[in-house]
Amino acid sequence: MATQTAEADLGQQPVKGRSLWADARTRFFRNKAAVAGLVALILICLFAFFGEFLAQYERAYVDFSLMGRNAVNGVPSIETGHYFGTDESGRDLYARTVQGTRISLLVGLVGAGVAVIVGTLYGAIAGYMGGKTDNIMMRTVDILMSVPYMFVLILMLVIFGRSITMLFIGIGLISWLDMSRIARGQTLSIKNKEFVEAAVATGVRPFTIILRHIVPNLAGLVIVYSTLLVPQMIITESFISFLGLGVQEPSTSLGALISAGAGQMRYGVLWQLLYPLFFFVVTLFAFFFVGDGLRDALDPKDR
């Protein structure tokens, strides 16, 4: 009797399939730290891309009357319109932090974007082809990875001039290495599955198999690692800008702002360090938490 009712129940409710992605979404939103990270990230993006509409001053506008009297007159306040105070040359720190955050985010996203496109394809091709091709491609990655890239990056910046474009190119050149290894590892386990075999049997060309059948199945892993890659790229850019070799004035980035604030902190203008530092730390935290949440949600190995 009991079985009959159960069957009746089943019959009444059409079974609604849960896709992999729906499952992952549920798992992600159950993770409080990840959700908090996501909210923080959205707020920071809003701040970085729309924050300048709230600024009362142009970011490059130098208020000469404030120079040298920052500790008294450049204090953060709502009334003067300098929400975050002013920097050492009397420029509005709010407008500069908005721009710095935007550049740091852009660098992170470009780096991760290159990693996703180049790294995934490279890894998938190496893994799928196997044999000698795989060997040569991955040894190349091994060799490139053991080059101290920060030094080479600085060498590049010195030779071709310090500019944000050069920084983007340099970061793009190094960001895909890790991703290609991860993508290759996953490809190795996918390529022996039946659906790939079926594709091979029906005569699909190798490159089409890689694009149609391998790459979509790498998506989960790629999303997770690219989220974790963004903060690394932000750190790399900030590192170089902290040294003064990255983004050049009047543009700025969080690393450059932290460096400037750190140079001024003994003059009682601590806000010049703390505001950029706050945005830097919160951005990194947010990305790490979102990345961790995504890994728990999407990476089947950790469950």
């Binding site: 010195v158 070799l245 790490f288």
Partner: protein, 307 residues
């Protein structure tokens, strides 16, 4: 084993050569030479300068000479900016400093990281564990260029305990802040890796056997659990080394310690190619050598590795 060693060395050598080639190609691709200043030099002066530094030679010959001098004579050539100084002088002056605080940072990161990770794993899900995990998450977002100003703010400006820069021949109080700033994030990573691998090992069958035959916990940890748990840490030491040597640039610039990082950044601003290239290649050789040693050590310790 021997064939494995040889194979690893066979990968190491092209890496270093590639680094040299990259540096040279970048330099040849540069718009203008090292002597193209704001004021154009007379043609004769330019010619003499180029002849002196060998820049009038064909590219392949410059590269071959450079490699020959570096490999055979350990000579990185003259500085392009300072007539009385060679790249070797710069390295001889800066490298011992970098090595001193780099060594201590490495020691602190490994010892503190491993002890924190092991303690956290033994007292799994206790307050100690949560603190250790908290520290390692927090330290992820505190790279050395963030740690350095924060430390100076607290220990120099507010408390006035330690000097915020300088070297003074490596006195201990000048060493403390650079070492902490450089080692924190690596300590955090090491403790995280140690904790997770220790937790895994502590659940293994041979540990249960050791417990069942009544060995004291101390002995189980030190004699049986620690060695297998250290393998993932060992493989992290390579990246940690690279990170620290890169981070030393920040330390040198921020704390004015006078290590090679300071020369590197100064040369970057002065477009002193030969110094930049010399330091890049030196760091590359060090990195490759260190990775080689770690890999060989790993193969020697872990019996599961097949050559």
């Amino acid at each position: 084993m021997l064939s494995y060693v040889l194979r690893r060395i066979a990968v190491a050598i092209p890496t270093i050569l590639l680094l040299i080639v990259i540096s040279f190609v970048l330099m040849f691709a540069a718009p203008g030479g090292p002597f193209n200043g704001e004021r154009a030099l007379p043609a004769q002066v330019m010619q003499n300068l180029e002849a002196r530094y060998g820049l009038d030679q064909p590219y392949w010959k410059q590269m071959a000479d450079y490699v020959w001098n570096v490999v055979v004579h350990f000579d990185f050539g003259p500085s392009f900016q300072y007539r009385d100084r060679t790249v070797n002088d710069v390295i001889a002056q800066g490298f011992p400093v970098t090595l001193t605080y780099g060594f201590w940072s490495f020691v602190v990161a490994v010892i503190a990281g491993v002890s924190l990770g092991v303690t956290a794993a033994i007292r799994h899900n206790s307050a100690v564990d949560y603190t250790a995990v908290g520290i390692s998450i927090g330290a992820q977002v505190l790279p050395n260029f963030v740690m350095a100003p924060i430390l100076v703010l607290i220990f120099t400006l507010w408390l006035g305990w330690l000097p915020g820069g300088g070297w003074q021949g490596g006195q201990w109080n000048y060493l403390v802040l650079p070492v902490i700033a450089l080692s924190t994030s690596y300590m955090a990573s090491i403790s995280r890796i140690t904790r997770s691998s220790m937790l895994e090992v502590l659940n293994a069958g041979f540990i249960r056997t050791a417990k069942a035959k009544g060995l004291p916990m101390r002995r189980i940890i030190l004699r049986h659990a620690l060695k297998p748990a250290m393998l993932p840490v060992l493989s992290y030491l390579g990246p940690a080394f690279v990170g620290m040597i890169t981070g030393s640039v920040i330390i040198d610039v921020y704390f004015s310690t006078g290590g090679i990082g300071q020369f590197f950044v100064n040369s970057a601003f002065n477009r002193d190619y030969s110094v930049i290239m010399g330091i890049t290649i030196l760091v590359g050789v060090l990195t490759v050598t260190f990775n080689l040693v770690v890999d060989l050590l790993y193969a020697w310790i872990d019996p599961k590795i097949r050559y």
